[in-house]
Amino acid sequence: MIKTIKLKDAVGTKLAHDITEIRPGEFKGAAFHKGHTLCNEDLCQLQKLGKNHLYLIDLEKDEIHENEAAAIMAKALAGKGVVWKNEPREGKIGLKAGINGLLTINVAALAAFNMIEEVMCATLHNHTLVKTGELVAATRAIPLVMKRAPIERAAAIAGQTGGVVSVLPIRQRKTGLIITGNEVYQGLIEDRFAPILTRKLTDLNCEVDCISFAPDDTEIIRQAICSHIDRGCDLILLSGGMSVDPDDVTREGIILAGADEIYYGAAALPGAMFLVAYIGKVPLIGVPACGLHHRTTVLDLVLPRILAGEKIGKKELAFLGHGGLCQDCPECTYPHCSFGKGS
C-alpha cells in the first residue's frame, strides 16, 4: 500500500525509492537514494526537483517493491555469460556481458516477458558481438509497488530456457581457407581473398591454419576440402565459384567432398549466393565474390554465429532477410547500422 504525504511532513521518514535528478546535458541520476532518512536540509533540494509530496510504502503481503522485483527479473533474464549486481538504480538493474562473445537473445521469450503488465526488459540486438563488462540489457518494474504474482510469472517466462540474455564465447577454430578460381590458381591475377578472410577471422581471435588454392575443378576442390579436414580443420572457408557461371563449381566440389547438409542462398545483400554446408560437424562456408568488394557482407553476420557454436541452416539464412539489406554507405559504419539487425 502506498500513502502520499506532504513534503513538509516527511522529515524523519525514509525515502521509498530513488529520487531522480536531471540536469540536461550534465547529469541524470539519483539525487537521493531509497532508504535515505530525510532531514530539514533535504526539503529545499527536493522542492527544486519538483517534489511537493512523497510516498510512504507499507507493503501488503502480496506486494513487492520495484527494487526487489528488478532483482527477481534480472536473475531470471540473465543466462550464460551474463552478470549483474543487485544494486538497482532508480529501479533499474543492468545486465552486463561476463565474457567477450556473441550476445544471443531469446527474442520470443523477451517478447513474452514484455507482454506481462508492469515489467520491461530492453536489450541490444540479437547476435551482437560484445565485450566483457558491456551493458547488454536492462530491466525494471514500471510502478513503484506491484503485485508479486505477475513478477514471478515474468521471471518464470524469462527463465524457461536458461535466461533470455546470454553471451556465448567465440570458440577458436582450426580454420582452413580454400581460394578457388582459375584466374588466381594460374597466377593471372593476385589473390585478394585470403588476406580479407584472414583479417575477418583474426578479428574474431581465430587463426588460419592453412590456405590452399584450387582451380575451377570439382575434383581438386574436393581434394582440398578433404585435405583440410584430414589436417584437423574444424572450419573451412571457400571463396569464389559460388555464382551461376559454368566455371562456378565450388558448390559441386563441396557436394563431392561429402557434405551432409548444404544450404545455398542467404536473404542478405551483399551475399545472396552465400553457402553453408556441413561435413559431419565441420562447417564449410562458401563466400561469394561480393566478399572482395564490400567491407561488410553476410559473412560478417554468420561467421560469429558459427564460431559461437550455432548451427546455421535454411531458417537462419532465411531470417536474415529483415534487416539484411546493406545500404552500401560511402563510409561503412557497420556494426553501427541496421545491417543484420532484424534477425
Binding site: 520470443a108 517478447a111 513474452a112 507482454m115 510469472r153 518464470a156 517466462i157 524457461q160 532465411a318 531470417f319
Partner: protein, 207 residues
Amino acid sequence: MQDFDTLLKNSSAAHGHLCSGQVVGVRMAMLGCRLISLDEPTRIDQIKKLIVYVEMDRCTGDAVAFVTGVKLGRRSLKFMDYGIMAATFVNLETNTAFRVISTEEARDLATVYAPEVPEKYPQQIEAYKRMPDSVLFRVQKVRVHMSEYDLPGPTRRKVACSRCAQVVRDNREVVQNGHILCKPCAQGAYFSEAEEINWPNMNWTPV
C-alpha cells in the same frame, strides 16, 4: 495421461477439426489436471474426483472436456456462459481448485514463436504448441462454492412447477410469493410463444 500429441490428435478428431482452440484446450486441461494432482482424470478411480467449470462454448471447451473426460450428463462438466477463455479444475477429494485463463497476449506473440509460418491460423497452432505454460496461461487458486445439488450422483430433489406442472430437478426451482415455479415460468426463457403440437409419425419407436 496420454502425451500431448496423442491427446491433440484424438481431441481434434472428436471435435471435428484441428485448430488453435484445440491446442489451447488440450494444454489447459493438461495443466489444470496437473495442478489438482490428477494424472489420469478419465480413469475410474479419478473420474469422480474431478469437476471442471468451462467458461466458453468454443473449440477450447471441447478439448478441455475431451482430455478430462468430464461430461454434462455426469455433472462433472459445468458450463458457465462467461465468454472467457478459462476453465476451473476442482479436485473434490482435496478440495483444491485452480482457474486456468488463456492469456490474450499469446495471440500477439504467435508471430514471434512461429515466425516461419506465414498464415495466421497455422501460425497460431504452431506457436501455441511452442509457448511455455507461463506464456499461454495465467492461473488463479480459487475456492469454488458447490451446492450439494450441483454434485454428481442421483437426483437429490424433485418438485413440480405450480404453474405448468413441469418437474424440476436438483433445486433449480424458483419460489415466488410462496409458489414453486420452474425458471421459464418465473423468469422467462430462451424461447417464447410455446405451443404444444402433434407431429407426423408420432407413434414411431426405435424397436
